[in-house]
Amino acid sequence: MELEYISIIAAAFTVSAGAIGPAISEGYAVARAMEAIARQPEAAGPLARTLFVGLAMIETTAIYCLVLALLLLYANPFIQQ
């Protein structure tokens, strides 16, 4: 029973901690891309494509944390169903 409470708290902590890093870094990446587009508006197409791919790469860490939290909640290997 204790293990279930611990895994619920751990799942919430995983999502919240895993959202902070990608949020800050995505904001940084978008801000830099905005600066670059403002400086060179004709390069907006390649910049946007690279930005999307980069954002997807950054976002993967947050998605890993989400999947880990859902694994803790629904398919926890340490709790016998």
């Binding site: 999307f52 791919v53 993967t60 890993y64 859902l70 694994l71 629904y74």
Partner: protein, 220 residues
């Protein structure tokens, strides 16, 4: 809420269980084939409605691929274009009442990522030969070889998890909000989910193109 990791078995085909996602995938394949057959029956020089739409879609995808792989874009158009159109439709299919996206279970993104994994190696061996492709793994230095080998596996894995996680979390969030609040509250999230679905299909196709281009570009 039920677990997003369980697979629902629709029916048994002899000893093989056919899951619900596979049935939806077959339905999408049938619909896509039918639409393309219907619009490509008689091509004209001055296109009508359906032909114009198909031509617009295909030329747009072709231009996007051509921005990354300069001269061989026609060779990769079937693979990348099919990936994009299929994933976009598979992500958006859960807007239809009663259907759920096949990309929101783990098997379909895994299958798509495995397709990309094998086509990267196929293209690499085709463009540089077996020995040249194997030698490209030792390219900056022989010490880096474990990391390049590891990155082949991790990027396939991350492609799978990215598509699955984004689509599944969107569905999960909408379901959770629907359990808390009433009828019209999840609508803004559903609009956001449409955007995320299209962006994920775009990113999957672009990443597949980038990986294939990286396997080809080592020949110089």
């Amino acid at each position: 809420m039920e677990s997003p990791f369980v697979t629902h078995i629709a029916f048994m085909l002899g000893p093989v269980p056919i899951s619900y996602a596979v049935v939806v995938t077959w339905g999408i394949m049938a619909v896509l084939t039918f639409i393309v057959w219907l619009s490509c029956r008689n091509f004209k020089t001055f296109p009508r409605r359906w032909q114009t739409a198909i031509e617009l879609l295909v030329t747009t995808i072709d231009e996007q691929i051509g921005d990354i792989i300069q001269d061989k874009n026609l060779y990769f158009l079937p693979l990348i274009g099919t990936l994009f159109i299929f994933i976009a439709l598979a992500n958006l299919i859960d807007l239809m009442p009663g259907l759920s996206a096949p990309t929101a279970v783990l098997e379909t993104p895994a299958a798509l990522a495995v397709i990309v994994f094998f086509s990267v190696h196929y293209v690499g061996i085709r463009s540089q030969g077996v020995w040249g492709y194997l030698k490209s793994y030792t390219r900056p230095n022989i010490i880096m070889m474990p990391f390049t080998l590891l990155s082949q596996i991790t990027r396939t894995f991350s492609m799978m998890i990215r598509l699955f996680g984004n689509i599944m979390s969107g569905q999960f969030l909408i379901g959770l909000l629907l359990a808390f609040a009433g009828l019209l509250v999840p609508v803004p999230l559903m609009v956001l989910h449409i955007l995320i679905s299209l962006i994920q299909a775009y990113i999957f196709a672009i990443l597949a193109t980038v990986f294939i281009a990286a396997a080809m570009a080592d020949e110089t």
